[in-house]
Amino acid sequence: MNAVRKTRSLMLSCAAVIALAAAGALPAGEAEAATLRYATIGEPPSLDIQMGTATLATTIGQNMFETLYAFDEAGAPQPMLAEGETISEDGKTIVITLRTGVPFHNGAEMTAEDVAASLNRWIEFGARGQTLNASSVEATGDNEVTITLAEVNGAWKSLLAFPNGGPAIYPADIVTAAGGEPIKPENYVGTGPYKFVEWRPNRHVELEKFEDYAARSEPSDGSAGAKEATIDTLQFIPVGDVSTRVSGVQAGDYDYAEYISGDLYGILKDDPSIAPHISSAPIFGLMFLNSKEGILAGNWKLRQAILAGLNMTEALQISVGDAELFAAEGSIFPEGNVWYSDAGTENYNQNDPEKAKSLAAEAGYNGEPIKLLVSTNYQQHFDQANVFKQQLAKAGINVELNVTDWATLLKERGEPGSWDMFMTHHGPSPDPVLLTFMNASYPGWWTTDERNADLAKLVGTSDLGERQAAWATTQELVYEQIPAVKVGDVFSFDIASPQLQTTWERAPAFPYFWGATK
């Protein structure tokens, strides 16, 4: 009997502890009001934004690190840590004047040596550094760095402004010590309005306001201009399940939650406990075609047959859902963007199985299987692949799905003999040279003479008009040779607490919260 009593007593004690814990719920105090809790889709990789292109790392890292230039609301690069620049007549030597009195989070003032060291590391090891095609970067004065390009690169300023895999400026000693390794969290030192506090794996990344932040004097404009950290603390919390992110905002546990499923938009847009923010920067689905090996390599007619047979509107309706969240847009860049062009887009969204059948016959196609590699990690990819398989079957094109997880897909797509097409997506890009299908070493390996000639024109000048014309020609070629099929623009949507007031209405590609209040 004693044993039973003891057990009962133990159970009651445990229950009491739980009850006390429940009763001890912390009231929402002032400290909480000064913290913005951002529910992320997952755990970010390293926040050393020079080294990787993960969107989440940029979303978090942009609060700590700054670049020499930053994009304004219209997508044009404006000076951030730079003050201005002069460019030599041949376009290959760029002298950048730096702002003075800009402190790092460790208290040291930013110098030309810091900038040169950061740029040199990015060029050597950074995710996008080689795109600049620079032969040297040197500190040529106390507040001046000189970049010498191997070839004229009309995209240089955009490349220096793009934070995703971009040239964040760190103190020289930190980048020198890190070399090609990602910078460790204890060395996350930048010039941004927030500084690093802690990273607790699977719990949160916490940043706090940098009191000595040196803001620019121009008004805030996109990521450019003045930034004021109006919220004291930012917490980025990994919440993998989308339903939990939604419930968390409804319950007031999170102030902001990213990447909500499109099929929930219809339900949530009228929910008074949340405020939806549709993205201003569409992500677009891409189906890459193998230009190196297999049945599609060099077979333009068969590629055109595939494109002719696809109905993008149907694929987008099924994979995305609400019509407010997608646009069957053939231009690689969205309308309103400086790179928008309708060149070649008459071949987009044709939905013409008969034409596809005829082109396939011209191409000598006899029903051989075309292997489409797709992962289940991204539901939209999987849905679109299934829709395409059905649509192409109507045109007599035999698509075989190879369904894997994302990590396997990343490995398999690097083996030219194992696939003919694969599904992925592309985030917003500030310049055509950063598009993955324009990169000859990216799986797909599109590197025809025509593409090379167009690319040379695109990077051979800094004149925007000439570059826009060169891009229009390139886009036309994309619709002829089809290195990748654009599925359509997808506008992800995030949700926020109605109390959170941001400086933007539609969510930027990398949501930021300077100037926000709650």
């Binding site: 912390l26 292109t53 090609g180 460790k184 699977n202 719990r203 399940d241 939990t244 990590a407």
Partner: protein, 315 residues
């Protein structure tokens, strides 16, 4: 007793070595590699290859295994490729959540499963018994994630009584009050397990109640309450306690769905995320620790038989 423990520990160590080989080989057989996942979609094959070399992933598999096993014997499970932290730190961080979640869940399981099982057994055949048994069957059949999402919807989103997700450590600001974050997940996780323990308790009680010594006890005029508690329940618990051991170990490793739904920084979610990222050292480390946990709990359950029933032969 000592001989039994030594013998069982030896067998457990042999199992551990075999498990470590299987864990290592199976994980490395999965296609995909961490370097590509870490660098992101825009990485070129050259960048992926360079990172692969830096991480030591281009060494022959057998060398990687001996290197890993040798370090594991010294308590070093390696460094997480993704977090760049010692695996022991990653596991320790997740262990607090998982152990507390499993413990609180076990409290619910015991508080609900055992007493209700006893009541059902005592009222065998009545509408109450049939109702409770039917309810148990229903609860055991409902997926945990569904229960979890509804608990969040009702108690967090609508009533606002409890947090919807996450878990700050009890060593952080808030202290023990942070346990409130584990109430909803533990209830979700307890639902099917309490139902199973309820059915097990009921069945075991009914079996024991047919024993001769129970009839003797009743014939001696001992009160029905005393017969139930002292003679039936105590002996019926032998089976139930055995199930507790495995349920606890299973809760640690099977809480993946609950930890994902409630965004808890536990071991289950860590291992699933690590598989998706191909973070081999973390996967290997966590599975090795779980195997150890099973082996130790198995041993403890065997030993506990001896205390609950002196007739049990340990040899």
């Amino acid at each position: 007793m000592l001989g039994f423990i030594v013998k069982r520990t030896g067998a457990a160590l042999a199992t551990l070595v075999a498990a470590s080989v299987l864990i290592f080989m199976f994980i490395h057989l999965i296609p995909g590699e961490p370097a590509a996942v870490m660098l992101g979609d825009a990485a070129t094959p050259e960048q992926v290859a360079a990172l692969r070399t830096r991480l030591g992933l281009d060494e022959p598999l057998i060398i990687q295994y001996f290197y890993w096993a040798g370090n594991a014997l010294q308590g070093d499970l390696g460094r997480s490729i993704f977090f760049d932290e010692p695996v022991t730190t990653v596991i320790a961080d997740g262990a607090e959540t998982s152990i507390l979640l499993a413990s609180i869940t076990m409290i619910w399981v015991v508080l609900i499963g055992v007493p209700v099982g006893v009541i059902a057994a005592m009222r065998r055949g009545s509408w109450l018994d049939q109702g409770l048994s039917g309810l148990a069957m229903l609860l055991a059949s409902i997926p945990t994630f569904w229960v979890g999402l509804y608990l969040i919807l009702v108690f967090a989103a609508q009533l606002g009584w409890l947090p919807s997700s996450g878990y700050p450590s009890i060593f952080d600001e808030g202290g023990l009050a942070n346990l409130r974050y584990l109430i909803l997940p533990s209830l979700a996780l307890a639902t099917p397990n309490a139902a199973l323990i309820l059915r097990l308790t009921r069945a075991s009680m009914l079996d024991v109640s047919k024993e001769d010594y129970v009839r003797t006890a009743r014939a001696k005029g001992i009160s029905p309450r005393q017969v139930t508690v002292r003679h039936i329940l105590r002996n019926a618990l032998l089976v139930v306690v055995s199930a507790f051991g495995f349920t606890f170990a299973a809760l640690i490793s099977e809480a993946v769905v609950t930890e994902t739904v409630f965004a808890l920084p536990g071991i289950g979610r860590t291992v699933v995320q690590s598989i998706l990222r191909r973070d081999y050292p973390v996967i290997q480390g966590v599975i090795l620790v779980i195997v150890c946990l099973y082996l130790v709990l198995n041993l403890l359950v065997d030993i506990s038989y001896r205390f609950l029933d002196p007739r049990v032969e340990l040899e």
